[in-house]
């Protein structure tokens, strides 16, 4: 456990030094969501209708962009192999990275989502639910994204390939996440969807690091 904590501490201290890594995904999230009223319609009723989906797709894409920062640098400068060579389990390494990724990118997204919700005319009740849904869903995305990132670490055009690999895996979280917010916005029950998000979090948190660790060892070659 202490190994995990010290790994997380290291991840955070490295990433926090470059504030741009912290800001970019957040800025991306805000800008992308802003595109929709401009591209679709500023009509409040219709905005509220598309808001759940827009928020989720934008959050998903922002997290996808943020993955790079936590994995690629360690791979490139040799830190990743040194970590693997010091007997630390691949599982812990991945878990630490995914958790740090969430703290630095996911959590701010959750906190800023209500602002976007207001911009997109989401009701107050739905706004709260959106925060809750994102709170449960964004960590899953970090864990699942870790798999794709670990597979593409050593590749030249890894970034584009990462998107292709990871988006299908994101779909369940996307469907249930958006549906949670949508149900809340029309006053329908949403607890079931939240439960599914919770289950997805547990499953991905427990199992994804195994797959990602195996992928890391393959990429290290």
């Amino acid at each position: 456990m202490s190994v995990l904590l010290s790994l997380i501490k290291r991840e955070l201290s490295v990433v926090m030094r470059s504030q741009s890594e912290f800001i970019y995904p957040l800025a991306f999230f805000v800008m992308v969501t802003t595109m929709f009223p401009l591209a679709v319609t500023p009509e409040p009723i219709q905005l509220a209708f598309i808001a759940p989906g827009v928020i989720w797709v934008a959050a998903l894409l922002s997290l996808l962009l943020s993955l790079h920062a936590f994995y690629q640098a360690d791979f490139d400068d040799g830190s990743l192999e040194q970590l693997l060579l010091s007997g630390v389990s691949g599982y812990s390494i991945v878990a630490a990275k995914a958790i740090a990724n969430w703290v630095v990118t996911g959590l701010p997204l959750v906190l800023i989502a209500p602002v976007i919700g207001v911009l997109l005319n989401l009701s107050a009740e739905a706004n709260w639910v959106a925060m809750l849904a994102l709170l449960l869903g964004t960590p899953s995305l970090c864990f699942i994204g870790a798999i794709g990132m670990s597979l593409t670490l050593g590749l030249r055009n890894g970034g584009v390939l990462l998107t292709l690999l990871v988006l299908p895996l994101f779909i369940p979280v996307l469907i249930f996440g958006a549906s949670t917010v949508e149900a809340a916005s029309v006053g329908r029950p949403f607890v079931g969807q939240l439960a599914v998000l919770g289950a997805a979090l547990i499953l991905s948190g427990v199992f994804a690091p195994y797959a990602a660790a195996a992928a890391m060892r393959i990429s290290i070659d």
Binding site: R156, L164, L165, A211
Partner: protein
């Protein structure tokens, strides 16, 4: 029995035995296709609602079925390659990918063609078609990942990990899409359900399914053979095999003849 198992892992053995099996598998699949298509197109009843368009089912259903079965085979073969480090397992896994992708594309295409006269539109976000589309992305991702690596061994292993992750996710994705689809039932249709199966429809359908299975095995063997030659190109037996084609006895005679002429 174990000897057979070890033999299976030998590329050379597989290459030789597949040479003998190929014509049989190819012939059987061709026969099954002919029988199945004849029965399906000519001798089975039209649907009381959809008329003759229902006959697309004889291609659509086997394609969709095979697209999923091939993915499972691809993932399991990859797992065997990872766990027991058997190279042939990886060869089979990688060879499955493009065939499976093709089945998926065919299922999507026939689904769209079926859709046009039935609902007036080429595409609907029906649960099954959507799941099939996502399956196509999974296949494409597998193929893209494998080809992105320079080293074949790493490529095989990484693709195998991806296939397994995909395998675990497919039921989850399917469940999510089904659930999502029930929410938005308005647009979709029960007409896409398989028509209730009378024997006269069931027999051609089963025939076509087997035809597709034998086609898959034939195509797989072709690809595996090509992949074996590519991977084992440094092996003596491959070099011998390829050089036999280069100089046929006829060419040798001509050379000797011209040598004789020159020396005169």
């Amino acid at each position: 029995m174990w000897t057979w198992f070890y033999q299976l892992a030998s590329p050379k053995w597989f290459y030789e035995i597949s040479r003998k099996l190929l014509p049989w598998f190819g012939g059987i699949s061709l026969l099954l296709f002919l029988v199945g298509l004849t029965l399906g197109l000519l001798f089975s009843p039209a649907d009381y609602q959809q008329g003759n368009t229902v006959r697309i089912m004889y291609i659509h259903v086997p394609s969709a079925y095979m697209s999923m079965m091939v993915y499972v085979i691809m993932a399991l073969a990859g797992a065997i390659g990872l766990i027991w480090r058997i190279k042939m397992a990886h060869v089979v896994s990688v060879s499955c990918a493009s065939i499976g992708a093709m089945f998926t594309a065919l299922a999507l295409l026939t689904g769209a063609i079926w859709g046009r006269p039935t609902w007036g539109t080429y595409w609907v976000w029906d649960a099954r078609l959507t799941s099939e589309l996502i399956l196509l992305f999974l296949y494409l991702g597998f193929m893209a990942l494998h080809s992105a690596f320079d080293d074949k061994k790493s490529a095989d292993k990484a693709a195998a990990v991806l296939a397994l992750v995909g395998l675990v996710n497919i039921p989850i994705i399917h469940f999510s899409v089904e659930w999502w689809n029930t929410l938005h039932q308005g647009a979709t249709l029960s007409k896409f359900e398989k028509p209730s199966m009378e024997t006269s429809m069931l027999i051609p359908l089963l025939t076509m399914i087997f035809a597709f299975k034998f086609y898959f095995l034939t195509a797989l063997m072709h690809k595996v053979r090509a992949e074996i030659l590519l991977r084992e190109k440094q092996a003596k037996w491959v070099k011998a095999l390829l050089s036999v084609g280069e100089r046929s006895p006829k060419d040798q005679d001509i050379t000797t003849d011209s040598q004789i002429l020159e020396s005169k």
